[in-house]
């Protein structure tokens, strides 16, 4: 007798993430090759922003810029909610967690949001990409001033305090904004092609995330991430990171509901408001903390960063499916005119005598589709 065998249904992208982290642990990229990988990562991110710039209409972008309520909520999550939770974790310093790691935990809560992965996940989840571009960019740019200010207020660092603010501005401008604007300016030429080939955006979104993860995790491994702390401390960091991330995500979901945000904006708040930037955090730590402590300070950030990617990948997959389902439900023909058009597209004609029955059955199937999508229980 045949038994049905099935593998657990895991989002393939999560499998890719695990594979990439495993690959970086076993075979981290280092030396000159790391430089090439860094370049490839930057190019992939630039391509991602170029394509999103070409895809988004002017009205969408202006709408994104003008969505102040969303930007305020994202900034509130990044620079108010996160730091408050970070301060709460300081109660654990000394008796439960190594004080140097405690500093790292608080430090990570003061960092700006990521730009690239926030936008990529928002795109995967079919959220408001224009809003995400603006919110995440704003968070990152403000972080250049806000993060050192918060660090100065809440932490004793022992570092130089000298930040390469101009360098961060240049990175954001060159890698993100220039390709985005460039893509958008070319929209009259290539917008049609991008609209017809929307399917290429998802592989670009995903591969850019995977490249970032591989490059960053390789650097962490090369720097001895697995030798700096004990396994119990690592486990504790993982748990604390999960708790922080969970608290922020739940809070953002509730805030989105209270504020009555549309689904697309709620996704932006969830993803942009719960992220912390590794790309910004590592150089900031190098500038703000004594060199001997930098490794330990950024370790919580490394772990949080991986965790946020996994959590967001899972959520983005789920949201994407919900959006796909809602779109598919909306494409069920309704009424005799749409039914006739759909039949013609499939190569047959609905006889007049059958039309009322076909329309009635389509309505019944529409009810089942709504039940499947969770909107008609």
């Amino acid at each position: 007798m045949r038994r049905s065998l099935s593998l657990p249904s895991v989002d393939p992208f999560l499998v890719w993430l695990v594979a990439v982290v495993t690959a970086a642990s076993i075979l981290p990229v280092r030396g000159g090759i790391a430089g090439w990988f860094g370049l490839a990562t930057n190019l992939a991110v630039a391509l991602l922003f170029f394509l999103h710039g070409a895809k988004l209409s002017r009205a969408s972008i202006l709408g994104g810029i003008g969505n102040w309520r969303l930007h305020v909520l994202v900034l509130g999550s990044t620079y108010v909610l996160f730091p408050l939770i970070g301060l709460a974790t300081t109660a654990l310093d000394g008796w439960l967690i190594d004080p140097r790691l405690g500093v790292g935990l608080l430090f990570l809560t003061l960092l700006p949001s990521t730009v690239q992965s926030s936008i990529a996940f928002t795109a995967l989840a079919r959220g408001n990409v224009a809003g995400a571009v603006c919110s995440a960019s704003l968070s990152n740019l403000l972080g250049i001033g806000l993060t050192p200010l918060l660090v100065g207020l809440l932490l004793r660092t022992g570092g130089t305090g000298a930040l390469s603010s101009w360098g961060s501005v240049q990175t954001i401008a060159l890698q993100l904004l220039v390709p985005f604007v460039g893509g958008h300016l070319l929209r009259p030429l290539i917008g049609g092609w991008v609209d017809r080939n929307k399917a290429i955006l998802q592989p670009v979104d995903r591969s850019s995330i995977l490249l970032v993860v591989y490059t960053a995790f390789s650097a962490a491994v090369v720097n001895g991430i697995w030798t700096k702390v004990t396994v119990p401390q690592l486990g504790l960091l993982l748990v604390l990171s999960a708790v922080i991330l969970g608290l922020v995500m739940v809070a953002n979901v509730l805030v989105a509901r209270l504020a009555g945000l549309p689904r697309e904006d709620a996704i932006v708040l969830l993803f942009c408001g719960s992220k912390k930037s590794l790309v910004s955090g590592v150089p900031m730590a190098a500038a703000l903390f004594a060199p001997a402590t930098v490794g330990m300070v950024v370790l919580p950030l490394m772990i949080f960063h991986q965790l946020q990617l996994f959590a967001c990948a899972a959520l983005a997959g789920r949201f994407s499916r919900q959006a796909n389902l809602a779109e598919a439900v909306s494409r069920i023909p309704q009424g005799s005119e749409q039914a006739a058009e759909a039949a013609a597209a499939r190569g047959f004609t609905i006889p007049d005598a059958c039309m009322p029955g076909v329309v009635a059955n389509l309505a019944l199937l529409g009810q089942h589709a709504k039940t499947l999508s969770g909107g008609n229980r």
Partner: protein, 446 residues
């Protein structure tokens, strides 16, 4: 008379196979009012019976189903005949060049094919209301439906015209008519029984399975069809649960009373998102059925049965993305269900939600509202098909009253546990006379 008893008598030489066939043919001739048969295969049956009798005369054992007459739903390939799937559309199709694999295996065990049996056209329905062959009537009350889509297969067994028959079950097309006609019906683990030579409906869910009047017959036919013995499982060792939620919301009080009497202390468990599962099953079935018949609908829509034509056309118009999402939901649902039922061997649930509806008013009550029986009698069977789990419909013993059935649902490959549990219910019962088991129709037929 049970199949195993007929076979024992034939093998022992107490009765000839040809006599059993003639008796069956005579019964069928008097049962036209049931509209259960689409084609009587008298010549073939007599030839097969003669072969069985010849084997016995030569001292050979024809097999465990020696000389047992049976029928198959009108969608199994029968050599020399067009496979019509209950439709006039294929009445002139090229004849099948081989028997369906299930028929081959039954023939190898000595069973004798006597007839093809009525069904909803293309198996799309739970009522066996067929524009070409008529509406199959319930032997317990001929003013009522026999259920479907394997209604003819159920009716001939319930009427005592044949000891067993074969049907197919996509969303409940064996379990629903088994419940309405008071007999046993098995939907196996998806893919466990041979489907070669069976006209498809929705291949994600299609399965063949037998109708019988006893668990002993079910066990025997299962062994013949699978080619492997049923591993004995001690029914006292089986872990039982009752399915709650919608399974208890839309059930006949007698079904709930029987379930509670069978396993009063068994936990009531709920399958997650059962309404979504049923809707996903509905959509997958509609899409696959529509896709299968799209070409024919384009060629000759008006030759379809009006009752199925509009449903198939609507299914053919569903967006592919919706089907893909329903399949994705199914993968998750199967995993969640596997976790929920991991600690149990047998789950108890209603089969059809009520007794057989009247043919004059083929509607039933679901969630307090009247809905068409043709599409909704499978409310409790459809979510189980969705998981691919095996389910055995067992009849409650209710002499003088309209039949009701329960589903015994098992784990993948758990048919042996289901049969062991059903045998325990049938044999010992809880009332002294057996809580389950068939009750013959009040009206004497043939």
């Amino acid at each position: 008379m049970q199949a195993v008893d007929i076979a024992a008598a034939v093998r022992a030489g107490h009765v000839r196979a040809i006599d059993m066939v003639e008796r069956c043919l005579a019964g069928l001739a008097q049962a036209d009012h049931l509209a259960a048969v689409t084609r009587v295969l008298a010549a073939r049956a007599r030839a097969e019976a003669a072969q069985v009798d010849a084997a016995i005369a030569h001292g050979h054992d024809p097999g465990p189903l020696a000389g047992v007459p049976y029928g198959v739903k009108d969608l199994f390939d029968v050599v020399g005949l067009p496979t019509t799937a209950g439709s006039s559309l294929y009445a002139d199709a090229a004849p099948a060049t081989h028997d369906a694999e299930a028929i081959c295996r039954l023939r190898g065990a000595g069973a004798v094919l006597v007839a093809t049996l009525n069904m909803d056209e293309f198996a799309y329905g739970f009522a066996t209301i067929n524009a070409t062959h008529g509406t199959t009537r319930n032997p317990h009350d001929v003013t009522r439906l026999a259920g479907g889509s394997s209604g003819g297969s159920a009716a001939v067994v319930a009427a005592g015209l044949m000891a067993f028959s074969l049907g197919t079950d996509t969303n409940g097309s064996i379990r629903v008519p088994a419940s309405l006609t008071g007999i046993y019906g098995l939907k196996p683990t998806h893919g466990a029984l041979p489907m070669a030579g069976v006209f498809p409906f929705a291949e994600s869910f299609d399965d063949a399975g037998p109708f019988t009047t006893s668990v002993a017959d079910m066990r025997c036919i299962w062994q013949v069809l699978t080619g492997s013995p049923v591993d004995g499982a001690a029914p006292t060792d089986l872990r039982v649960a009752r399915l709650g939620g919608r399974f208890r919301d839309n059930a006949d009080p007698d079904q709930l009373a029987a379930i509670d009497a069978i396993a009063p202390h068994a936990p009531i468990i709920e399958l997650p998102e059962i309404a979504r599962a049923r809707s996903a099953a509905f959509l997958i079935t509609a899409f696959e059925g529509g896709a299968l018949h799209a070409d024919a609908l384009g060629r000759a829509a008006m030759q379809f049965d009006p009752a199925t034509r509009d449903r198939l056309m609507a299914g053919a118009l569903l967006p592919r993305a919706l089907y893909d999402e329903a399949l994705a939901f199914r993968r998750d649902f199967k995993q969640q269900t596997a976790v929920v039922i991991a600690d149990y061997d047998v789950l108890l649930a209603p089969a059809a939600p009520c007794v057989a509806p009247l043919i004059a008013d083929p509607r039933i009550v679901i969630d307090g509202g009247m809905v068409p029986a043709r599409s909704d009698l499978g409310i409790h069977t459809q979510p189980i098909s969705f998981t691919g789990l095996p389910a055995l419909s067992v009849p409650l013993r209710r002499p003088g009253r309209l039949p009701l059935g329960l589903q015994l649902i098992g784990k993948p490959g758990g048919e042996a546990a289901l049969m062991a549990f059903a045998e325990m219910l049938e044999g010992t019962g809880l009332t002294g006379q057996g809580l389950t088991g068939i009750a013959s129709p009040v009206e004497e037929l043939a």
